[in-house]
């Protein structure tokens, strides 16, 4: 549906926001673009939607070059920006109808009604935008993006600063759209969100796509947890009785680190096995803590794997 080829963007101040990005989005999928703040997620979306001129490379939207055939390419795309940007004094109905007209589509009150109802905005259709809550405003932005019946919807950080209940509601809305055949690309820096929603996940870091993978494959990589045991007395070596647990000795023998997959049932029972073995060997544990790989760690490890 969307093919990005060799896309680079260097801003005037020399900042390289995108470096030779290749990416293909399949029709009908939910694609999550995952990356830390400043990784280039928004820049990539902006280039595809025509808000930023690329320095090199090209973007094809359903076979249309987004620069030379910008009318055809852009007509297929709906964009929900990250920031809540609205003309405060217009009504929900007017602003959504405006978006449809702006994209060159004739008036269709039935379609606008359908969009508003699906986003539970129908009751608020005559409200001015400034009177709406943050979550409502975000839904208005989604309604505006859907007003011209796009085939591809970009959601830039749709759930940033949104409470848990509303986040679930957003996810539900996105799923419904996918069921209607809309291709969805969403950016996020929450792993949880990508896990919940996406069919495929692309990881972007410092303007480079580090990997694109099926969600299930990626989640296995992300599921690692670490248990660190701080010992009273330093060890020179790992006792043979504990060798079956795959431990590593760190901190000059003061700590044992145990890696495991938190999602797996079996593994959790082996934590108690490990603790029992420690007891049996007579090691005294001063303190222990567990830690889940943070997104940043995952990026670092992903980048290192590649090199």
């Amino acid at each position: 549906m969307i093919r990005v080829e060799g896309l680079s963007k260097t801003f005037r101040d020399g900042f390289k926001a995108l470096v030779d990005v290749d990416l293909e989005i399949r029709r009908g999928e939910i694609f999550a673009l995952l990356g830390p703040n400043g990784a280039g997620k928004t820049t990539l979306i902006s280039v595809i939607c025509g808000l930023v001129n690329p320095s090199a490379g090209r973007v094809m939207v359903d076979g249309h070059d987004n620069v030379r055939q910008y009318r055809k390419a852009r007509a297929l795309i709906g964009l929900v920006p990250q920031e809540l940007t609205n003309e405060a004094f217009t009504t929900v109905w007017d602003t959504v109808s405006f978006s449809r007209g702006l994209f060159g589509k004739p008036k269709d009150p039935a379609h606008i009604e359908k969009v508003l109802r699906s986003l539970t905005l129908w009751e608020k259709r005559d409200s001015r935008l400034l009177a709406l809550s943050g979550g409502m405003k975000r839904r208005v932005l989604i309604a505006k993006a859907l007003a011209h019946e796009p085939q591809v919807l970009f959601l830039d950080e749709p759930t940033a600063g949104v409470d848990v209940a509303l986040r679930r509601e957003m996810w539900e809305v996105v799923r419904q759209l996918r069921d209607q055949g809309v291709t969805i690309i969403l950016t996020t820096h929450y792993i949880e969100e990508a896990e919940e929603m996406a069919d495929r996940i692309g990881v972007i870091r410092r303007g480079e796509i580090v990997l694109v993978e099926n969600k299930h494959a990626l989640m296995r990589k992300l599921g690692n947890k670490e248990l660190t045991l701080h010992l009273h007395e330093p060890l020179a070596d790992i006792p043979t009785a504990l060798s079956g647990h795959g431990l590593t000795l760190t901190d000059e023998g003061h700590a044992l680190v145990y890696s495991y997959d938190a999602a797996s049932q079996q593994e959790s029972s082996s934590i108690s096995g490990l603790l029992a073995d420690l007891e049996a060997v007579g090691l005294r544990v001063k303190d222990l803590h567990t830690r889940q790989s943070s997104l940043e760690d995952i990026f670092v490890s992903l980048v290192q794997e590649r090199r």
Binding site: V52, R71, R74, I77, T85, E87, G101, L102, G104, K105
Partner: protein, 258 residues
Amino acid sequence: MNLKNLNLQSVKTLYLAEMARSLRTMLQSVISPVISTSLYFVVFGAAIGTRISEVDGVSYGAFIVPGLIMLMLLTQSVSNASFGIFFPRFSGSVYEILSAPMSYVEVVIGYVGAAASKSMILGLIVLATARLFVPYAIEHPLMMLVFLILTAITFSLLGFIIGIWADGFEKLQLVPLLVITPLTFLGGTFYSIDMLPPFWQTVTLANPVVYLVSGFRWSFYGISDVSPVVSLLMILLFLSAALAVLSWIFKSGYRLKP
């Protein structure tokens, strides 16, 4: 640019939305210019004007009518058009315009067309208001409209450029305050330039507003400081200059598309 390919639906939507925005602020956009113009007529026309003799055979009150309409037209065109594009840039909602399947020409027609329409409507309201204070005649009504339309479009384009250039509210006010208003007051709105000493008459000819006011006044009373043909050519020159700057802006993506 092939006009047949013009995306009329998009242009119409943008134009109507801009006009609707003006209607929402009807009170400040219509009442305040009418009041300020009325004040000019009371002070300059009625109070001071009665002590000033006729200018080129026209009573002073009537003499300033075209100038005041020009004053209104220039300031309103610039402020409408600059605010029209500045506000979406400021609020961020410009993303929608830029991501719409619209050409730049269409965007400009929408914004500038709406700004020019609004200032022309105001100009005509001021014209009607003036009638309450002084009698006047319009000798060349058709040319009056031509001057009105060309000036409104030209200065709306200028306002649009300012709205793209400005990166804050101060800059948005800067050009109207420091450039447009002084040039208008010194451009023969309240006097005929042959009332000035010879040296200043020459200096004044460098003021573009002189040509606008002079041409516009000619369409009313058949009197002018410079030939109406020169006035018309000058307006067309400003129009081309504004279009040239705009086309550079869009080509380079200046302030709109990084």
